[in-house]
Symmetry: C2
Subunit: 198 residues, 2 copies
DNA sequence: TAAGTTTGTTACTGAGTAGTAACAAAACGT
DNA sequence: ACGTTTTGTTACTACTCAGTAACAAACTTA
């Protein structure tokens, strides 16, 4: 009998494979609902390969969130880049793209809010990441509403953030069929118009 | 040695004690994070007393949600009742009261969205309850925006729903310190004014 | 080729999970 | 008082979880 081969995967590659599996499962199923074993199986790897890269499940969660954070800002930049130096169109575009994503079958809302829901303890490490991310979002919106020349950039920024978070939340319940999400771009347009007027 | 007494609690009373404990724990800690044993301990009761009233943990969750549903409509009615036959003030009042609650230390967002986050499976029984509740909310808003005489009652209703869900979400990250939530009543006022104007 | 390092594999620990069986004690109906 | 129903208590099943120990196999460097 010939012995079966045992191909090896270097740690860099292994880390990516594991994170890919973790990302899909954590986002789709939720954190508490997904065991490390489930991630191991999905990744087609070994449990020790996970714990040699990540010291704990919490560590894995943080890596997952960091990755999602990068994705968010990448999408943000993409929407912004479609209309250089035109804040109004940039903001509308962002919400149009968001609405597009939010009506996708795979969409499961904002992963940061989702994590916050599952980890109520305010001093838990994952919460700090959520909080810092939300602050960066606020700053980004505020910067755009200021560039827009809104009469009250701060209030407008918060309005947009609420609408964004509302869109995320709505997708959780209605999914592909949300009439509210389909209206989001038009709603944002109206809000922007009013904010510039006076 | 005298034997310790064993005072008994009738099932109706027991059910309420259990639900009180479940409500606090489920809402504060999340569903998956709370074990039936934890609820039993919190209620100061026995495990069998729980499983004789509720056939499963899912059953308990459904009872918890039904109770929260009642609370929501009670709060809704209270806000509405403060300004009889004045839709504009009724809506503003609802958001003012919501903002008040949302900046409370104990507030942990919308329990229905929270449940949806923890139960992604769309055919899970708890999801049906979430969905039906969202639909009732939509109808209630639509009825008020229609009474208001908005030029586009449907769009306004969805705008308000997004703002409401955004408020819930925001409280999860910023809690007591949310500048966005403090601005909500003013934001809603502006949105309403614009919706009536043309 | 030889020694050291990294990865794969198996088996395990200890703790927690939802849910149940069996019986004892209390309350209730008659 | 007596039998029935309801409730309290203990102990249990079968399972899942995060995390680890120990060793074997593969790769790397010298």
């Amino acid at each position: 009998m010939t012995e079966a081969k045992r191909p090896r995967v270097p740690r860099e590659k292994a880390q990516e494979i594991i994170l890919n599996a973790a990302e899909e499962l954590f986002y789709q199923e939720g954190i508490h609902a997904v065991s490390v074993d489930a991630i191991v199986e999905r990744a087609g790897m070994n449990k020790m390969s996970v714990y040699r890269q990540f010291s704990s499940k919490t560590d894995l969660i943080l890596a997952y969130m960091t990755r999602k954070q990068d994705v968010f800002w990448q999408e943000w930049e993409e929407s912004i880049a479609k209309h250089p130096k035109r804040p109004r169109e940039q903001i509308i575009q962002f919400f149009a793209d968001l609405a597009e994503r939010a009506t996708n079958e795979q969409f499961r809302g904002c992963c940061f809010i989702n994590v916050a829901v599952e980890f109520p303890d305010p001093i838990h490490p994952v919460r700090e990441l959520v909080c810092s991310h939300q602050k960066r979002i606020r700053d980004a919106f505020l910067e755009r509403t200021t560039a827009l020349g809104a009469s009250n950039p701060c209030e407008l920024a918060y309005t947009l953030i609420l609408l964004m978070e509302g869109t995320y939340a709505d997708s959780q319940t209605y999914g592909t069929d949300s009439a509210a999400i389909r209206m989001v771009p038009a709603i944002v347009e109206k809000v922007l118009d009013q904010a510039i007027q006076n």
